[in-house]
């Protein structure tokens, strides 16, 4: 990186870091310029009815932005979570917006892009959040069964945890950046329940090699590894939307085989480094430090993850 390139990237919106951008900035920069139309925008003030009970501040969009826009000319539905508001967690309103969007996608046969950024269920409305996740998964899968493509993007501050991890795995395909983490139980939850010997949540290198974007890409948990720029996510969304493998019985049989193969191949590994070595990466320890370009080249050499088994 030179000083000149550092200076020029300041003015380029598409070069903006996805990780740092807000949900609104992500939506704006992802879509064709000026094409976004929001449904139930902040001016509607459809906030959580539950947060006031806990004396917590609300957000006008409840941390979920949904609407329609154009991506490379094509009309799509889009959803984005704001990971900094309540950790992007699913609450009643937050979740219902996405449920409605996915039901509409099935009805209108319009593809969907979801920008995940979530810690899972929102504690203060846990039951409503859990239900929202169940409803979103059903709506998403019904959309896919109707041959509607649903693409997930993961690279935000809150990662994609809890029910968010399950929803992501229901998508037709996923793009993930190095910063993106996909997992069900978070590091602190595992440590609290099972002890620091099982998982040291403060060992961030461990967190990332167990749940992070590079690992997910290497084991087939995500289709595309992207650089941490809005442009890179946009390109990935366009590429993934172009292929529409509908959800079918055959697809799930293939997924069963894919997952069982993974269990057979790596089920006895103690650490992600062992998995990477077994994948044929001699210098596994060097993977975390690799730049986007280096890793992308490595990934392409090691594993083909467009598997049509999701």
């Amino acid at each position: 990186m030179s000083a000149a390139s550092a200076a020029t990237r300041i003015d380029d919106a598409l070069a903006q870091s996805w990780y740092e951008a807000s949900a609104r900035q992500r939506v704006d920069a992802l879509l064709d310029r000026g094409s976004f139309v929001e449904f139930i925008g902040p001016e509607r003030r459809e906030t959580s009815p539950h947060l006031p009970l806990f004396d917590l501040p609300e957000q006008f969009d409840d941390g979920m932005i949904v609407g329609r826009g154009r991506l490379d000319g094509a009309s799509i539905l889009i959803a984005a979570q704001e990971g900094r508001f309540m950790g992007g967690a699913f609450g009643e309103v937050h979740g219902a917006k996405l449920t409605g969007l996915l039901r509409a996608a099935r009805e209108l046969r319009t593809p969907v892009v979801i920008a995940f950024d979530t810690g899972g269920v929102r504690l203060q409305e846990a039951n409503a959040g859990e239900m929202a996740i169940a409803e979103i998964m059903r709506a998403l899968l019904e959309a896919r069964l109707a041959a509607v493509n649903v693409i997930g993007l993961v690279g935000g501050r809150a990662g994609c945890y809890g029910g968010g991890g399950l929803i992501a795995a229901c998508c037709s395909a996923l793009a993930v950046s190095e910063q993106g983490r996909i997992s069900v139980s978070g590091p602190e939850v595992i440590e609290t329940n099972r002890g620091v010997e099982e998982f040291d949540s403060k060992d961030r290198a461990l967190v990332w090699r167990t749940m992070g974007g590079k690992h997910r890409r290497l084991i087939g948990g995500a289709e595309i590894f992207v650089d941490d720029t809005v442009a890179s996510f946009r390109a990935a969304a366009i590429a993934l939307l172009a292929r529409a493998p509908a959800l079918t019985r055959a697809m799930l049989v293939a997924e069963q085989a894919r997952l069982e193969t993974r269990l057979d191949a790596f089920g006895d590994c103690a650490d992600a480094l062992d998995i990477w070595r077994r994948l044929g990466i001699a210098d596994a320890a060097s993977v975390p430090a690799m730049s986007y370009g280096e890793f992308d080249a490595l990934g392409a050499r090691i594993t083909e993850v467009i598997h049509d088994a999701r």
Binding site: F39, E46, P49, H50, L53, V66, R68, L77, E92, V93, G95, A96, K97, T99, G100, L101, E107, L108, T110, V121, L123, Q124, E125, A126, N127, A128, G129, E130, M131, I133, E135, M137, R138, A139, L145, G162, G165, L166, I167, A168, A169, S183, V184, S185, R194, E198, F199, T210, I219, G221, R249, L252, Q256, L259, E260, R262, L263, F266, D271, R310
Partner: protein, 243 residues
């Protein structure tokens, strides 16, 4: 009710249902003699990658079979297995895969019914019970999304305060009544009556209804989730109008 009692009440003439490593699978006969597939989790087992893969395999085998018989999912589980190994190998994919298989089975004509007879929590709840079309429960079932001690830790509110708050809203506290009110549970069965008969009633009623997910509507009717159904509907309308 214990699992044995449940199976006895469901299948008075016996069944091939077996328990292996905390997982349930097999088949029994409905009143009319037609088959009823059974899978599930028992003994409060955690649902990890190995369990999810086995359960999903059972579901796919049912789908591959000749009949279009319903699938009963019995649940007495822990939460998802919280471990380094499970997350490292992609627990989210395994749990989602299980949910997908259940939902696909339902769409392909194997009506899915969940029966929650014990504990369940968090991700395991989503991937099993909540992935069925109709979720039933027995009294004493304990679904937990977030336990109050953990909540007290994070919100820094005393448990007593949370318990008092839980009296005015079903939205956060654990328990069958709260989950039922938010629309998760369609009906709670009467353990004094034959479960076979009660399940039969549900299956007949379900056959008449379309496979639409109406849990949010139910949650609104029960005053447990007042906004979700309307918001989802409104988004759908706006999406329609935006084309």
């Amino acid at each position: 009710m214990t699992l044995a009692e449940i199976l006895a009440s469901l299948f008075p003439r016996g069944s091939s249902v077996v328990v292996e490593d905390g997982l349930i699978h097999g088949q029994g006969r409905r009143v009319d003699g037609s088959p009823l597939h059974v899978i599930g989790v028992c003994e409060r087992s955690a649902v990890g990658i190995d369990e999810a893969a086995k359960l999903a395999r059972h579901v796919l085998e049912i789908i591959a079979g000749e009949d279009s018989a319903p699938i009963l999912v019995l649940i007495d589980s822990d939460s998802q297995r919280m471990s380094k190994r499970d997350e490292m190998l992609g627990l989210n994919e395994f749990l989602a895969h299980l949910a997908k298989c259940l939902i696909l089975a339902d769409v392909l004509g194997h009506a899915t019914i969940g029966l929650l007879y014990g504990h369940t929590a968090a991700g395991a709840f989503i991937a099993t019970a909540l992935a069925t079309r109709t979720l039933l429960a027995l009294p004493g079932a304990e679904p937990v999304v977030m336990d109050l001690p953990s909540m007290a830790r994070v919100t820094k509110l005393p448990i007593e305060t949370l318990q008092a708050m839980a009296k005015t809203t079903p939205v956060f506290a654990p328990g069958l009544a709260n989950l039922a009110q938010t629309g998760a549970v369609a009906a709670t069965l009467d353990p004094q009556r034959s479960l076979a008969a009660q399940v039969e009633e549900i299956l007949v009623a379900n056959a008449r209804e379309a496979g639409k997910d109406e849990r949010d509507v139910l949650g609104k009717r029960r005053n447990g989730r007042t906004k979700a159904a309307d918001i989802a509907l409104r988004v759908q309308e706006l999406a329609r109008a935006s084309t």
